[in-house]
Subunit: 219 residues, 2 copies
């Protein structure tokens, strides 16, 4: 069954932050670990932000997380390199399976949207830089509710925008914790397990798991 | 200046979960990484739990997190081993600097308390097993507010219990995110940086950083 609407997570699902590694290899041989820690801290700070009730936008959290990861690996970042690395989050390349999957879903008559922790300008720039302009009916940012995933009011943005019930909305994320949060909310969730990780063992289970977006639409 | 009251985090601050490693080495050579991931997932699940509004107690989250970490490292846990490992969280040994520090603070006339994500039975068992009975005026568990650190209502438990203002309460944690959450709340925070990690770069800064509890009371 094809959903009327597919809502996609952005970072790690449509665009690939592992592409940041080559730039960081110029600064340290620990580039791969540094990117992993950068991402981990970015998410931890987003969780802390929501829990402490101190909303700070994702661009700023991304910068704080980079500073932490650089300190951990003893990398001295000059202002220029720092700026360039943060800016690179708005120019991440799409995974190769993204465009064909979006084409196919649109041909089946589905609406498409992005729902992301990123700021509205970051979402617009990323989608354009990835060559995905024109596929999406909406780019929804947590910024309008000043809270991060997996808070329910974030997922509610899609309900509000499209006027569909929760179970009618297909939600696709490669982030296990996001897939769980969306399933708790009541979306019809597909977890795209790009990194072959174990399934999350806490919270609502996604309706299905796929290895790449080429499997969409999935039963 | 000595505070009238010192509130301590438990796991990683007073008792050492790295002591779980030897038991896990019997199951896999990746014991050290498995314990790190177990702890990481335990905390991630506690954040998700609060954000999704689905409170599940820390014993249960600890079990879910173990299942995830075991799956990641391909460790098959029989029911007995699983039970024993989860139970080990209530029998973690104290760091060697703990008892002398508590003695010193009590001799200075300070009250002492624990404020932890753990359940009330887990706190009582852990404190007894660690030989720390009799030092604390209160063992405060998040379970009474059904939310996890760094939610403000958790830190408020100490205010409520002791009738002191936020800034009069000395709070000590080795967990950077917990120290930040407590500083955001308004406690007088000491971050015990046992693992020589970089300082957190987001949120309120702890008033001071120490390397071990032997430095308490610190200016």
């Amino acid at each position: 069954v094809t959903s009327q609407l597919y809502v996609f997570d952005l970072y790690g699902t449509l665009v690939d932050y592992n592409s940041l590694r080559p730039q960081i290899y110029l600064l340290t041989p620990n580039a791969s670990s540094l990117v992993d820690l950068w991402r981990l801290k970015q998410l931890q700070y987003s969780f802390m932000s929501s829990m402490m009730g101190r909303y700070v936008d994702f661009d700023e959290l991304t910068a704080h997380a980079l500073d932490y990861a650089a300190a951990q690996y003893g990398v001295q970042l000059d202002a220029d390199s720092r700026e360039r690395l943060i800016d690179a989050w708005s120019q991440l390349p799409p995974y190769p399976d993204v465009r064909p999957a979006l084409e196919k879903l649109r041909a089946l008559g589905a609406k498409l949207a992005v729902l992301s922790n990123g700021t509205p300008p970051a979402l617009a720039r990323t989608v354009t830089a990835a060559g995905l302009d024109g596929y999406f009916d909406a780019l929804l940012s947590v910024d309008s509710v000043k809270a991060y995933k997996p808070r329910p009011e974030v997922y509610h943005l899609a309900v509000e925008r499209f006027g569909l019930s929760r179970g009618e909305i297909g939600f696709v994320s490669s982030n296990g914790w996001d897939a769980v949060g969306a399933a708790e909310f009541g979306f019809d969730v597909t977890w795209c397990n790009r990194n072959r990780l174990p399934a999350e063992t806490f919270g609502a289970r996604p309706a299905r798991t796929i290895a790449t977006l080429a499997e969409l639409p999935a039963d």
